[in-house]
């Protein structure tokens, strides 16, 4: 497969190029993280530092369509993320 203009040949290249950068991570259970990526492996286990976690708390009232969820935020200095919870990782935009 010929590399695209961005020089990415396999999906993990995207992660490799984001080492030491701030990344956005979407996790199962309506969690999102923003932190500096220090390490990853083939399971997508991650080590992040200076992390802000955002948890969407969907109100238990059923029948509510979209919106009206509260968000809880908290900060962690250093974090290990187990890979199986990862849905998406987005590096900072490179222009």
């Amino acid at each position: 497969m010929d590399p695209s203009s961005t020089g990415i040949q396999e999906p993990f290249d995207l992660i490799r190029l984001s080492l030491s950068e701030r990344v956005f991570v979407k996790l199962r259970g309506d969690r999102e993280l923003s932190g500096v990526l220090h390490a990853y492996d083939g399971h997508m286990n991650l080590i992040l530092s200076d992390v802000e976690e955002t948890v969407m708390i969907v109100d238990a009232v059923d029948g509510t369509l979209e919106g009206q969820g509260t968000v809880a935020k908290r900060k962690m200095e250093m974090l290990f993320v187990r890979g199986d919870g990862v849905i998406l990782v987005s590096p900072p935009s490179r222009m």
Binding site: Q9, P11, F12, L14, M44, V89
Partner: protein, 96 residues
């Protein structure tokens, strides 16, 4: 690319399909790299973007990605890595 499997066994009874018609998952993926795709996750969330590449686990790298939830754009990412276990399907957004 690190693809997993050979095509299904052919038991000599039927000729293989003509090679010009994309058949196997591998052929489909070769044809769709660099094109606009819709990636639907099992959660129902869609990611629309240009498929940069993928691997045998269906891990996906997308460019110019839009996240769609219930038909509305909820996020945009320059690049996005999607872990393959969440993927329900990859669909060509333009006809091949």
């Amino acid at each position: 690319m690190d693809e997993q499997t050979p095509p299904p066994p052919d038991h000599g009874s039927t000729p293989p399909p003509p090679p010009s018609v994309s058949g196997s998952p591998t052929d489909f993926l070769k044809g769709v790299v660099g094109k606009r795709v819709i990636v639907r996750l099992t959660s129902g969330v869609d990611y629309r973007g240009v498929l940069s590449c993928l691997d045998g686990y269906m891990n996906i790298a997308l460019e110019q990605t839009e996240e769609h939830v219930n038909g509305m754009v909820t996020n945009r990412y320059g690049d996005a890595f999607i872990r393959g276990n969440n993927v329900l399907y990859i669909s060509a957004a333009e006809s091949l």
